[in-house]
Subunit: 152 residues, 2 copies
C-alpha cells in the first residue's frame, strides 16, 4: 500500500467519451464504494453482503433464502454461506417456512438487531462521505433514479 494516498486524483481519462458510459460509471462507483463500505463494516465483523442479509433479516419481512438470492443477485449457494456465518455468530437464525416447509426464512436475533443498528449508523456515515460531492437534493435524486431504473 502507498504511504499516504489522501490525494484526490482527477484522472485525465475521465474526459474520454467512455466517461459517460453508464456501465463503467456504475462499476467504478460500485468498486470504490464497496471498498469503503467493507472497511466501515469491518468493525462489526460484517461485509457489504452479510450486512445486506442482516438488514433483510431485521426488516420483519421474513425473507426466504431464495428471495435473498434473487434480491441480492446472488447464487443460492452463496446465500447459504452468508447465512451460515451470521447464524454461527448468533445474529440470525433459520426458521421453517410457513406455507412451504422446504423454504427457510431468515430472522434476526436480538443480538443481530443490536449489531445491525450500530453497523447501519457506521455505514450511513460512510456513504455520506462517499457522496459528499452531491448536495442533499442530488443525493435523494440519485437514489430515486437508481430505484426507478431497477424496478420502474
Amino acid at each position: 500500500m502507498g504511504p499516504q494516498s489522501t490525494e484526490v486524483e482527477t484522472p485525465r481519462l475521465a474526459a474520454a467519451k467512455i466517461g459517460s458510459d453508464v456501465g463503467l460509471l456504475l462499476a467504478k462507483l460500485h468498486a470504490t464504494g464497496s471498498l469503503l463500505n467493507n472497511k466501515a463494516l469491518a468493525d462489526y465483523g460484517l461485509r457489504e453482503r452479510s450486512f445486506s442479509v442482516l438488514t433483510l433479516a431485521c426488516s420483519g419481512l421474513e425473507p426466504t433464502q431464495r428471495e435473498l438470492a434473487d434480491f441480492l443477485s446472488l447464487d443460492p449457494s452463496q446465500v447459504v454461506s452468508l447465512v451460515d456465518d451470521l447464524e454461527h455468530r448468533g445474529l440470525v437464525k433459520r426458521a421453517q417456512g410457513k406455507q412451504d416447509r422446504r423454504a427457510k426464512i431468515i430472522v434476526s436475533t436480538a443480538e443481530g438487531r443490536r449489531i445491525h443498528n450500530k453497523a447501519r449508523a457506521g455505514l450511513e456515515e460512510c456513504e455520506r462521505t462517499q457522496l459528499a460531492a452531491l448536495s442533499e437534493e442530488e443525493n435523494v435524486q440519485l437514489r430515486a433514479l437508481l430505484k426507478k431504473a431497477l424496478w420502474g
Copy 2:
C-alpha cells in the same frame, strides 16, 4: 448468478429500508447490467472490461497501463491480461511511453477501431433497453449524478 429468467420481478423485499441503500442499488444495477452488457459484447469477442480498454485505446488519449488500472479500478496485473488478449487479436498495440520508457501506452489498430465502432453501437442499444424505465431526461440526469459523485 441468478437463473436465466429475464422476467421483470417486483420483489416484495424492495420495500425494505435497504431498498434505499446506495451501495446495494449500485451493486444490483451493476450486476444485472454487466450480465446484459457482456451478452451484448459477446458478439464481438469482448467483455465489459476489454471493451473499456479498447475504448480508451481508441480515444486518442494514449493511456498507460497504470492509468487504465487506476481509471478502471483494476489491479495492474489484470490490465496486463486484458491488453495481452486485445493485442493478440490485433485490436490494440503497446507503444513505448514518450516521457517515461517504463510505461507502455495502449493505442488502437485500425481493426481495433472497426470492432470498437460496431461494439459500441451494440452496447449503446443494450444500455438503452436497460434504462428503459427512465425518460431521456432522467437518463441524462443519472449520468451527470454518477459523474459528479465520482469526480465532483
